[in-house]
Symmetry: C2
Subunit: 187 residues, 2 copies
DNA sequence: CGCCGAGTTGAACTGAATCAAGAAACGTGG
DNA sequence: CCACGTTTCTTGATTCAGTTCAACTCGGCG
């Protein structure tokens, strides 16, 4: 819980009243390794904060698992499309390590928005920061080679390489596992 | 101006007071074809609504122009990274057709946020919708072939093909102009 | 007319995928 | 603590989508 407060403060400090209301609306969720937080076809109406552990978002395409993000400590997690549009998504969220999360439902969050302007501002700001990250990833995907993308990952998030199997990283980078293995052996 | 009001209403209706405050803060901008709204290295501290015309965002990479979005009527336009972080960006925004925009400065917008909670909500919601679009593009880039990406563009935004030169579309799709030309001749 | 930018077409090349086989690492039960 | 199957990773050979370089076509316009 403390981790969440600290994380929030980095984006936008909120009033004590807002923080108290938020904590009341949160529920603690413990999930074991290899379970699923979200499965394709369901509506994900919760937003999570990941306090401990690690997760992975992927979907199935032509029988293959296509990873498109990893979540670690202090990340906000949800099946974004589904959470926002309130429709079933195609995304699976798998638990890669025993994890502790704090969850809030879409309804509760919107109620809090009505009562606490600063909470809505916080979320707006977080959204914007996540948008920028996504933009960077798109750029890398569109205009960089497999090797460059791997090297960029090495620089910006070396922790990923220690905690995630190679095949999943390859998929995240948009390349085959064999290619990533070869790239890695050359560096 | 009417177009903006209609566009906003699709995302989230706002109060009359908020709308009036917003219109007071907006300035009309007319820009001729081939001019630039934003140049790399500068801080873009304005958010625009494009009423008429069309624009293109690109940046220079190894001497090549890399297009990563097009803006048409009723789109919101800015150099997002720069606008949010208030730092110089590497993005150029070029005017492809004579255009009419409505602009608001970052400061004015934030002042409005303080006074009108519903305006901040509106922006939060718009941000979320733009995030979803970006997510879709990333997916396409990561896991679809050049042909599939082109066909997807044909379906979702055929108007782009009529208004934008081939080379820029190719760059937007992350492929070479020659490849796009060949793909097109086969369909 | 001749130039110029935009688009097309061809040939050679290349980065990365795929297919296939084997080597390590890992967890589980005996 | 070892034997087993399973998963993860590596390595090689082949194939293919897409790039690059280069030449050529076409339409517009001074």
């Amino acid at each position: 819980m403390n981790a969440l407060h600290q994380c929030i403060s980095q984006y936008h400090p909120i009033s004590i009243a807002a923080w108290e209301a938020l904590t009341k609306a949160l529920t603690r969720v413990e999930v074991p390794k290899n379970s699923f937080l979200v499965k394709e076809g369901m509506v994900c109406n919760k937003l999570y904060f990941l306090e401990r552990g690690c997760l992975r978002g992927y979907y199935n395409l032509d029988g293959k698992e296509v990873t498109y993000w990893f979540g670690f400590e202090n990340n906000f997690i949800t099946s974004f499309y589904s959470f926002i549009s309130r429709k079933p998504g195609i995304e699976n969220i798998q638990v890669l390590e025993d994890s502790t999360l704090w969850g809030i439902s879409s309804e509760a969050l919107h109620q809090l928005f009505d009562q606490h302007h600063d909470l809505e501002r916080l979320v707006r700001i977080i959204n914007e920061q996540y948008y920028i990250r996504l933009e960077e990833r798109l750029m890398a995907m569109q205009f960089k080679t497999a090797r460059e993308r791997y090297e960029q990952l090495l620089e910006t998030s070396p922790h990923i390489l220690q905690r995630i199997p190679l095949g999943q990283i390859a998929s995240y980078l948009g390349i085959s596992q064999e290619t990533l293995s070869r790239i890695r052996s050359q560096v």
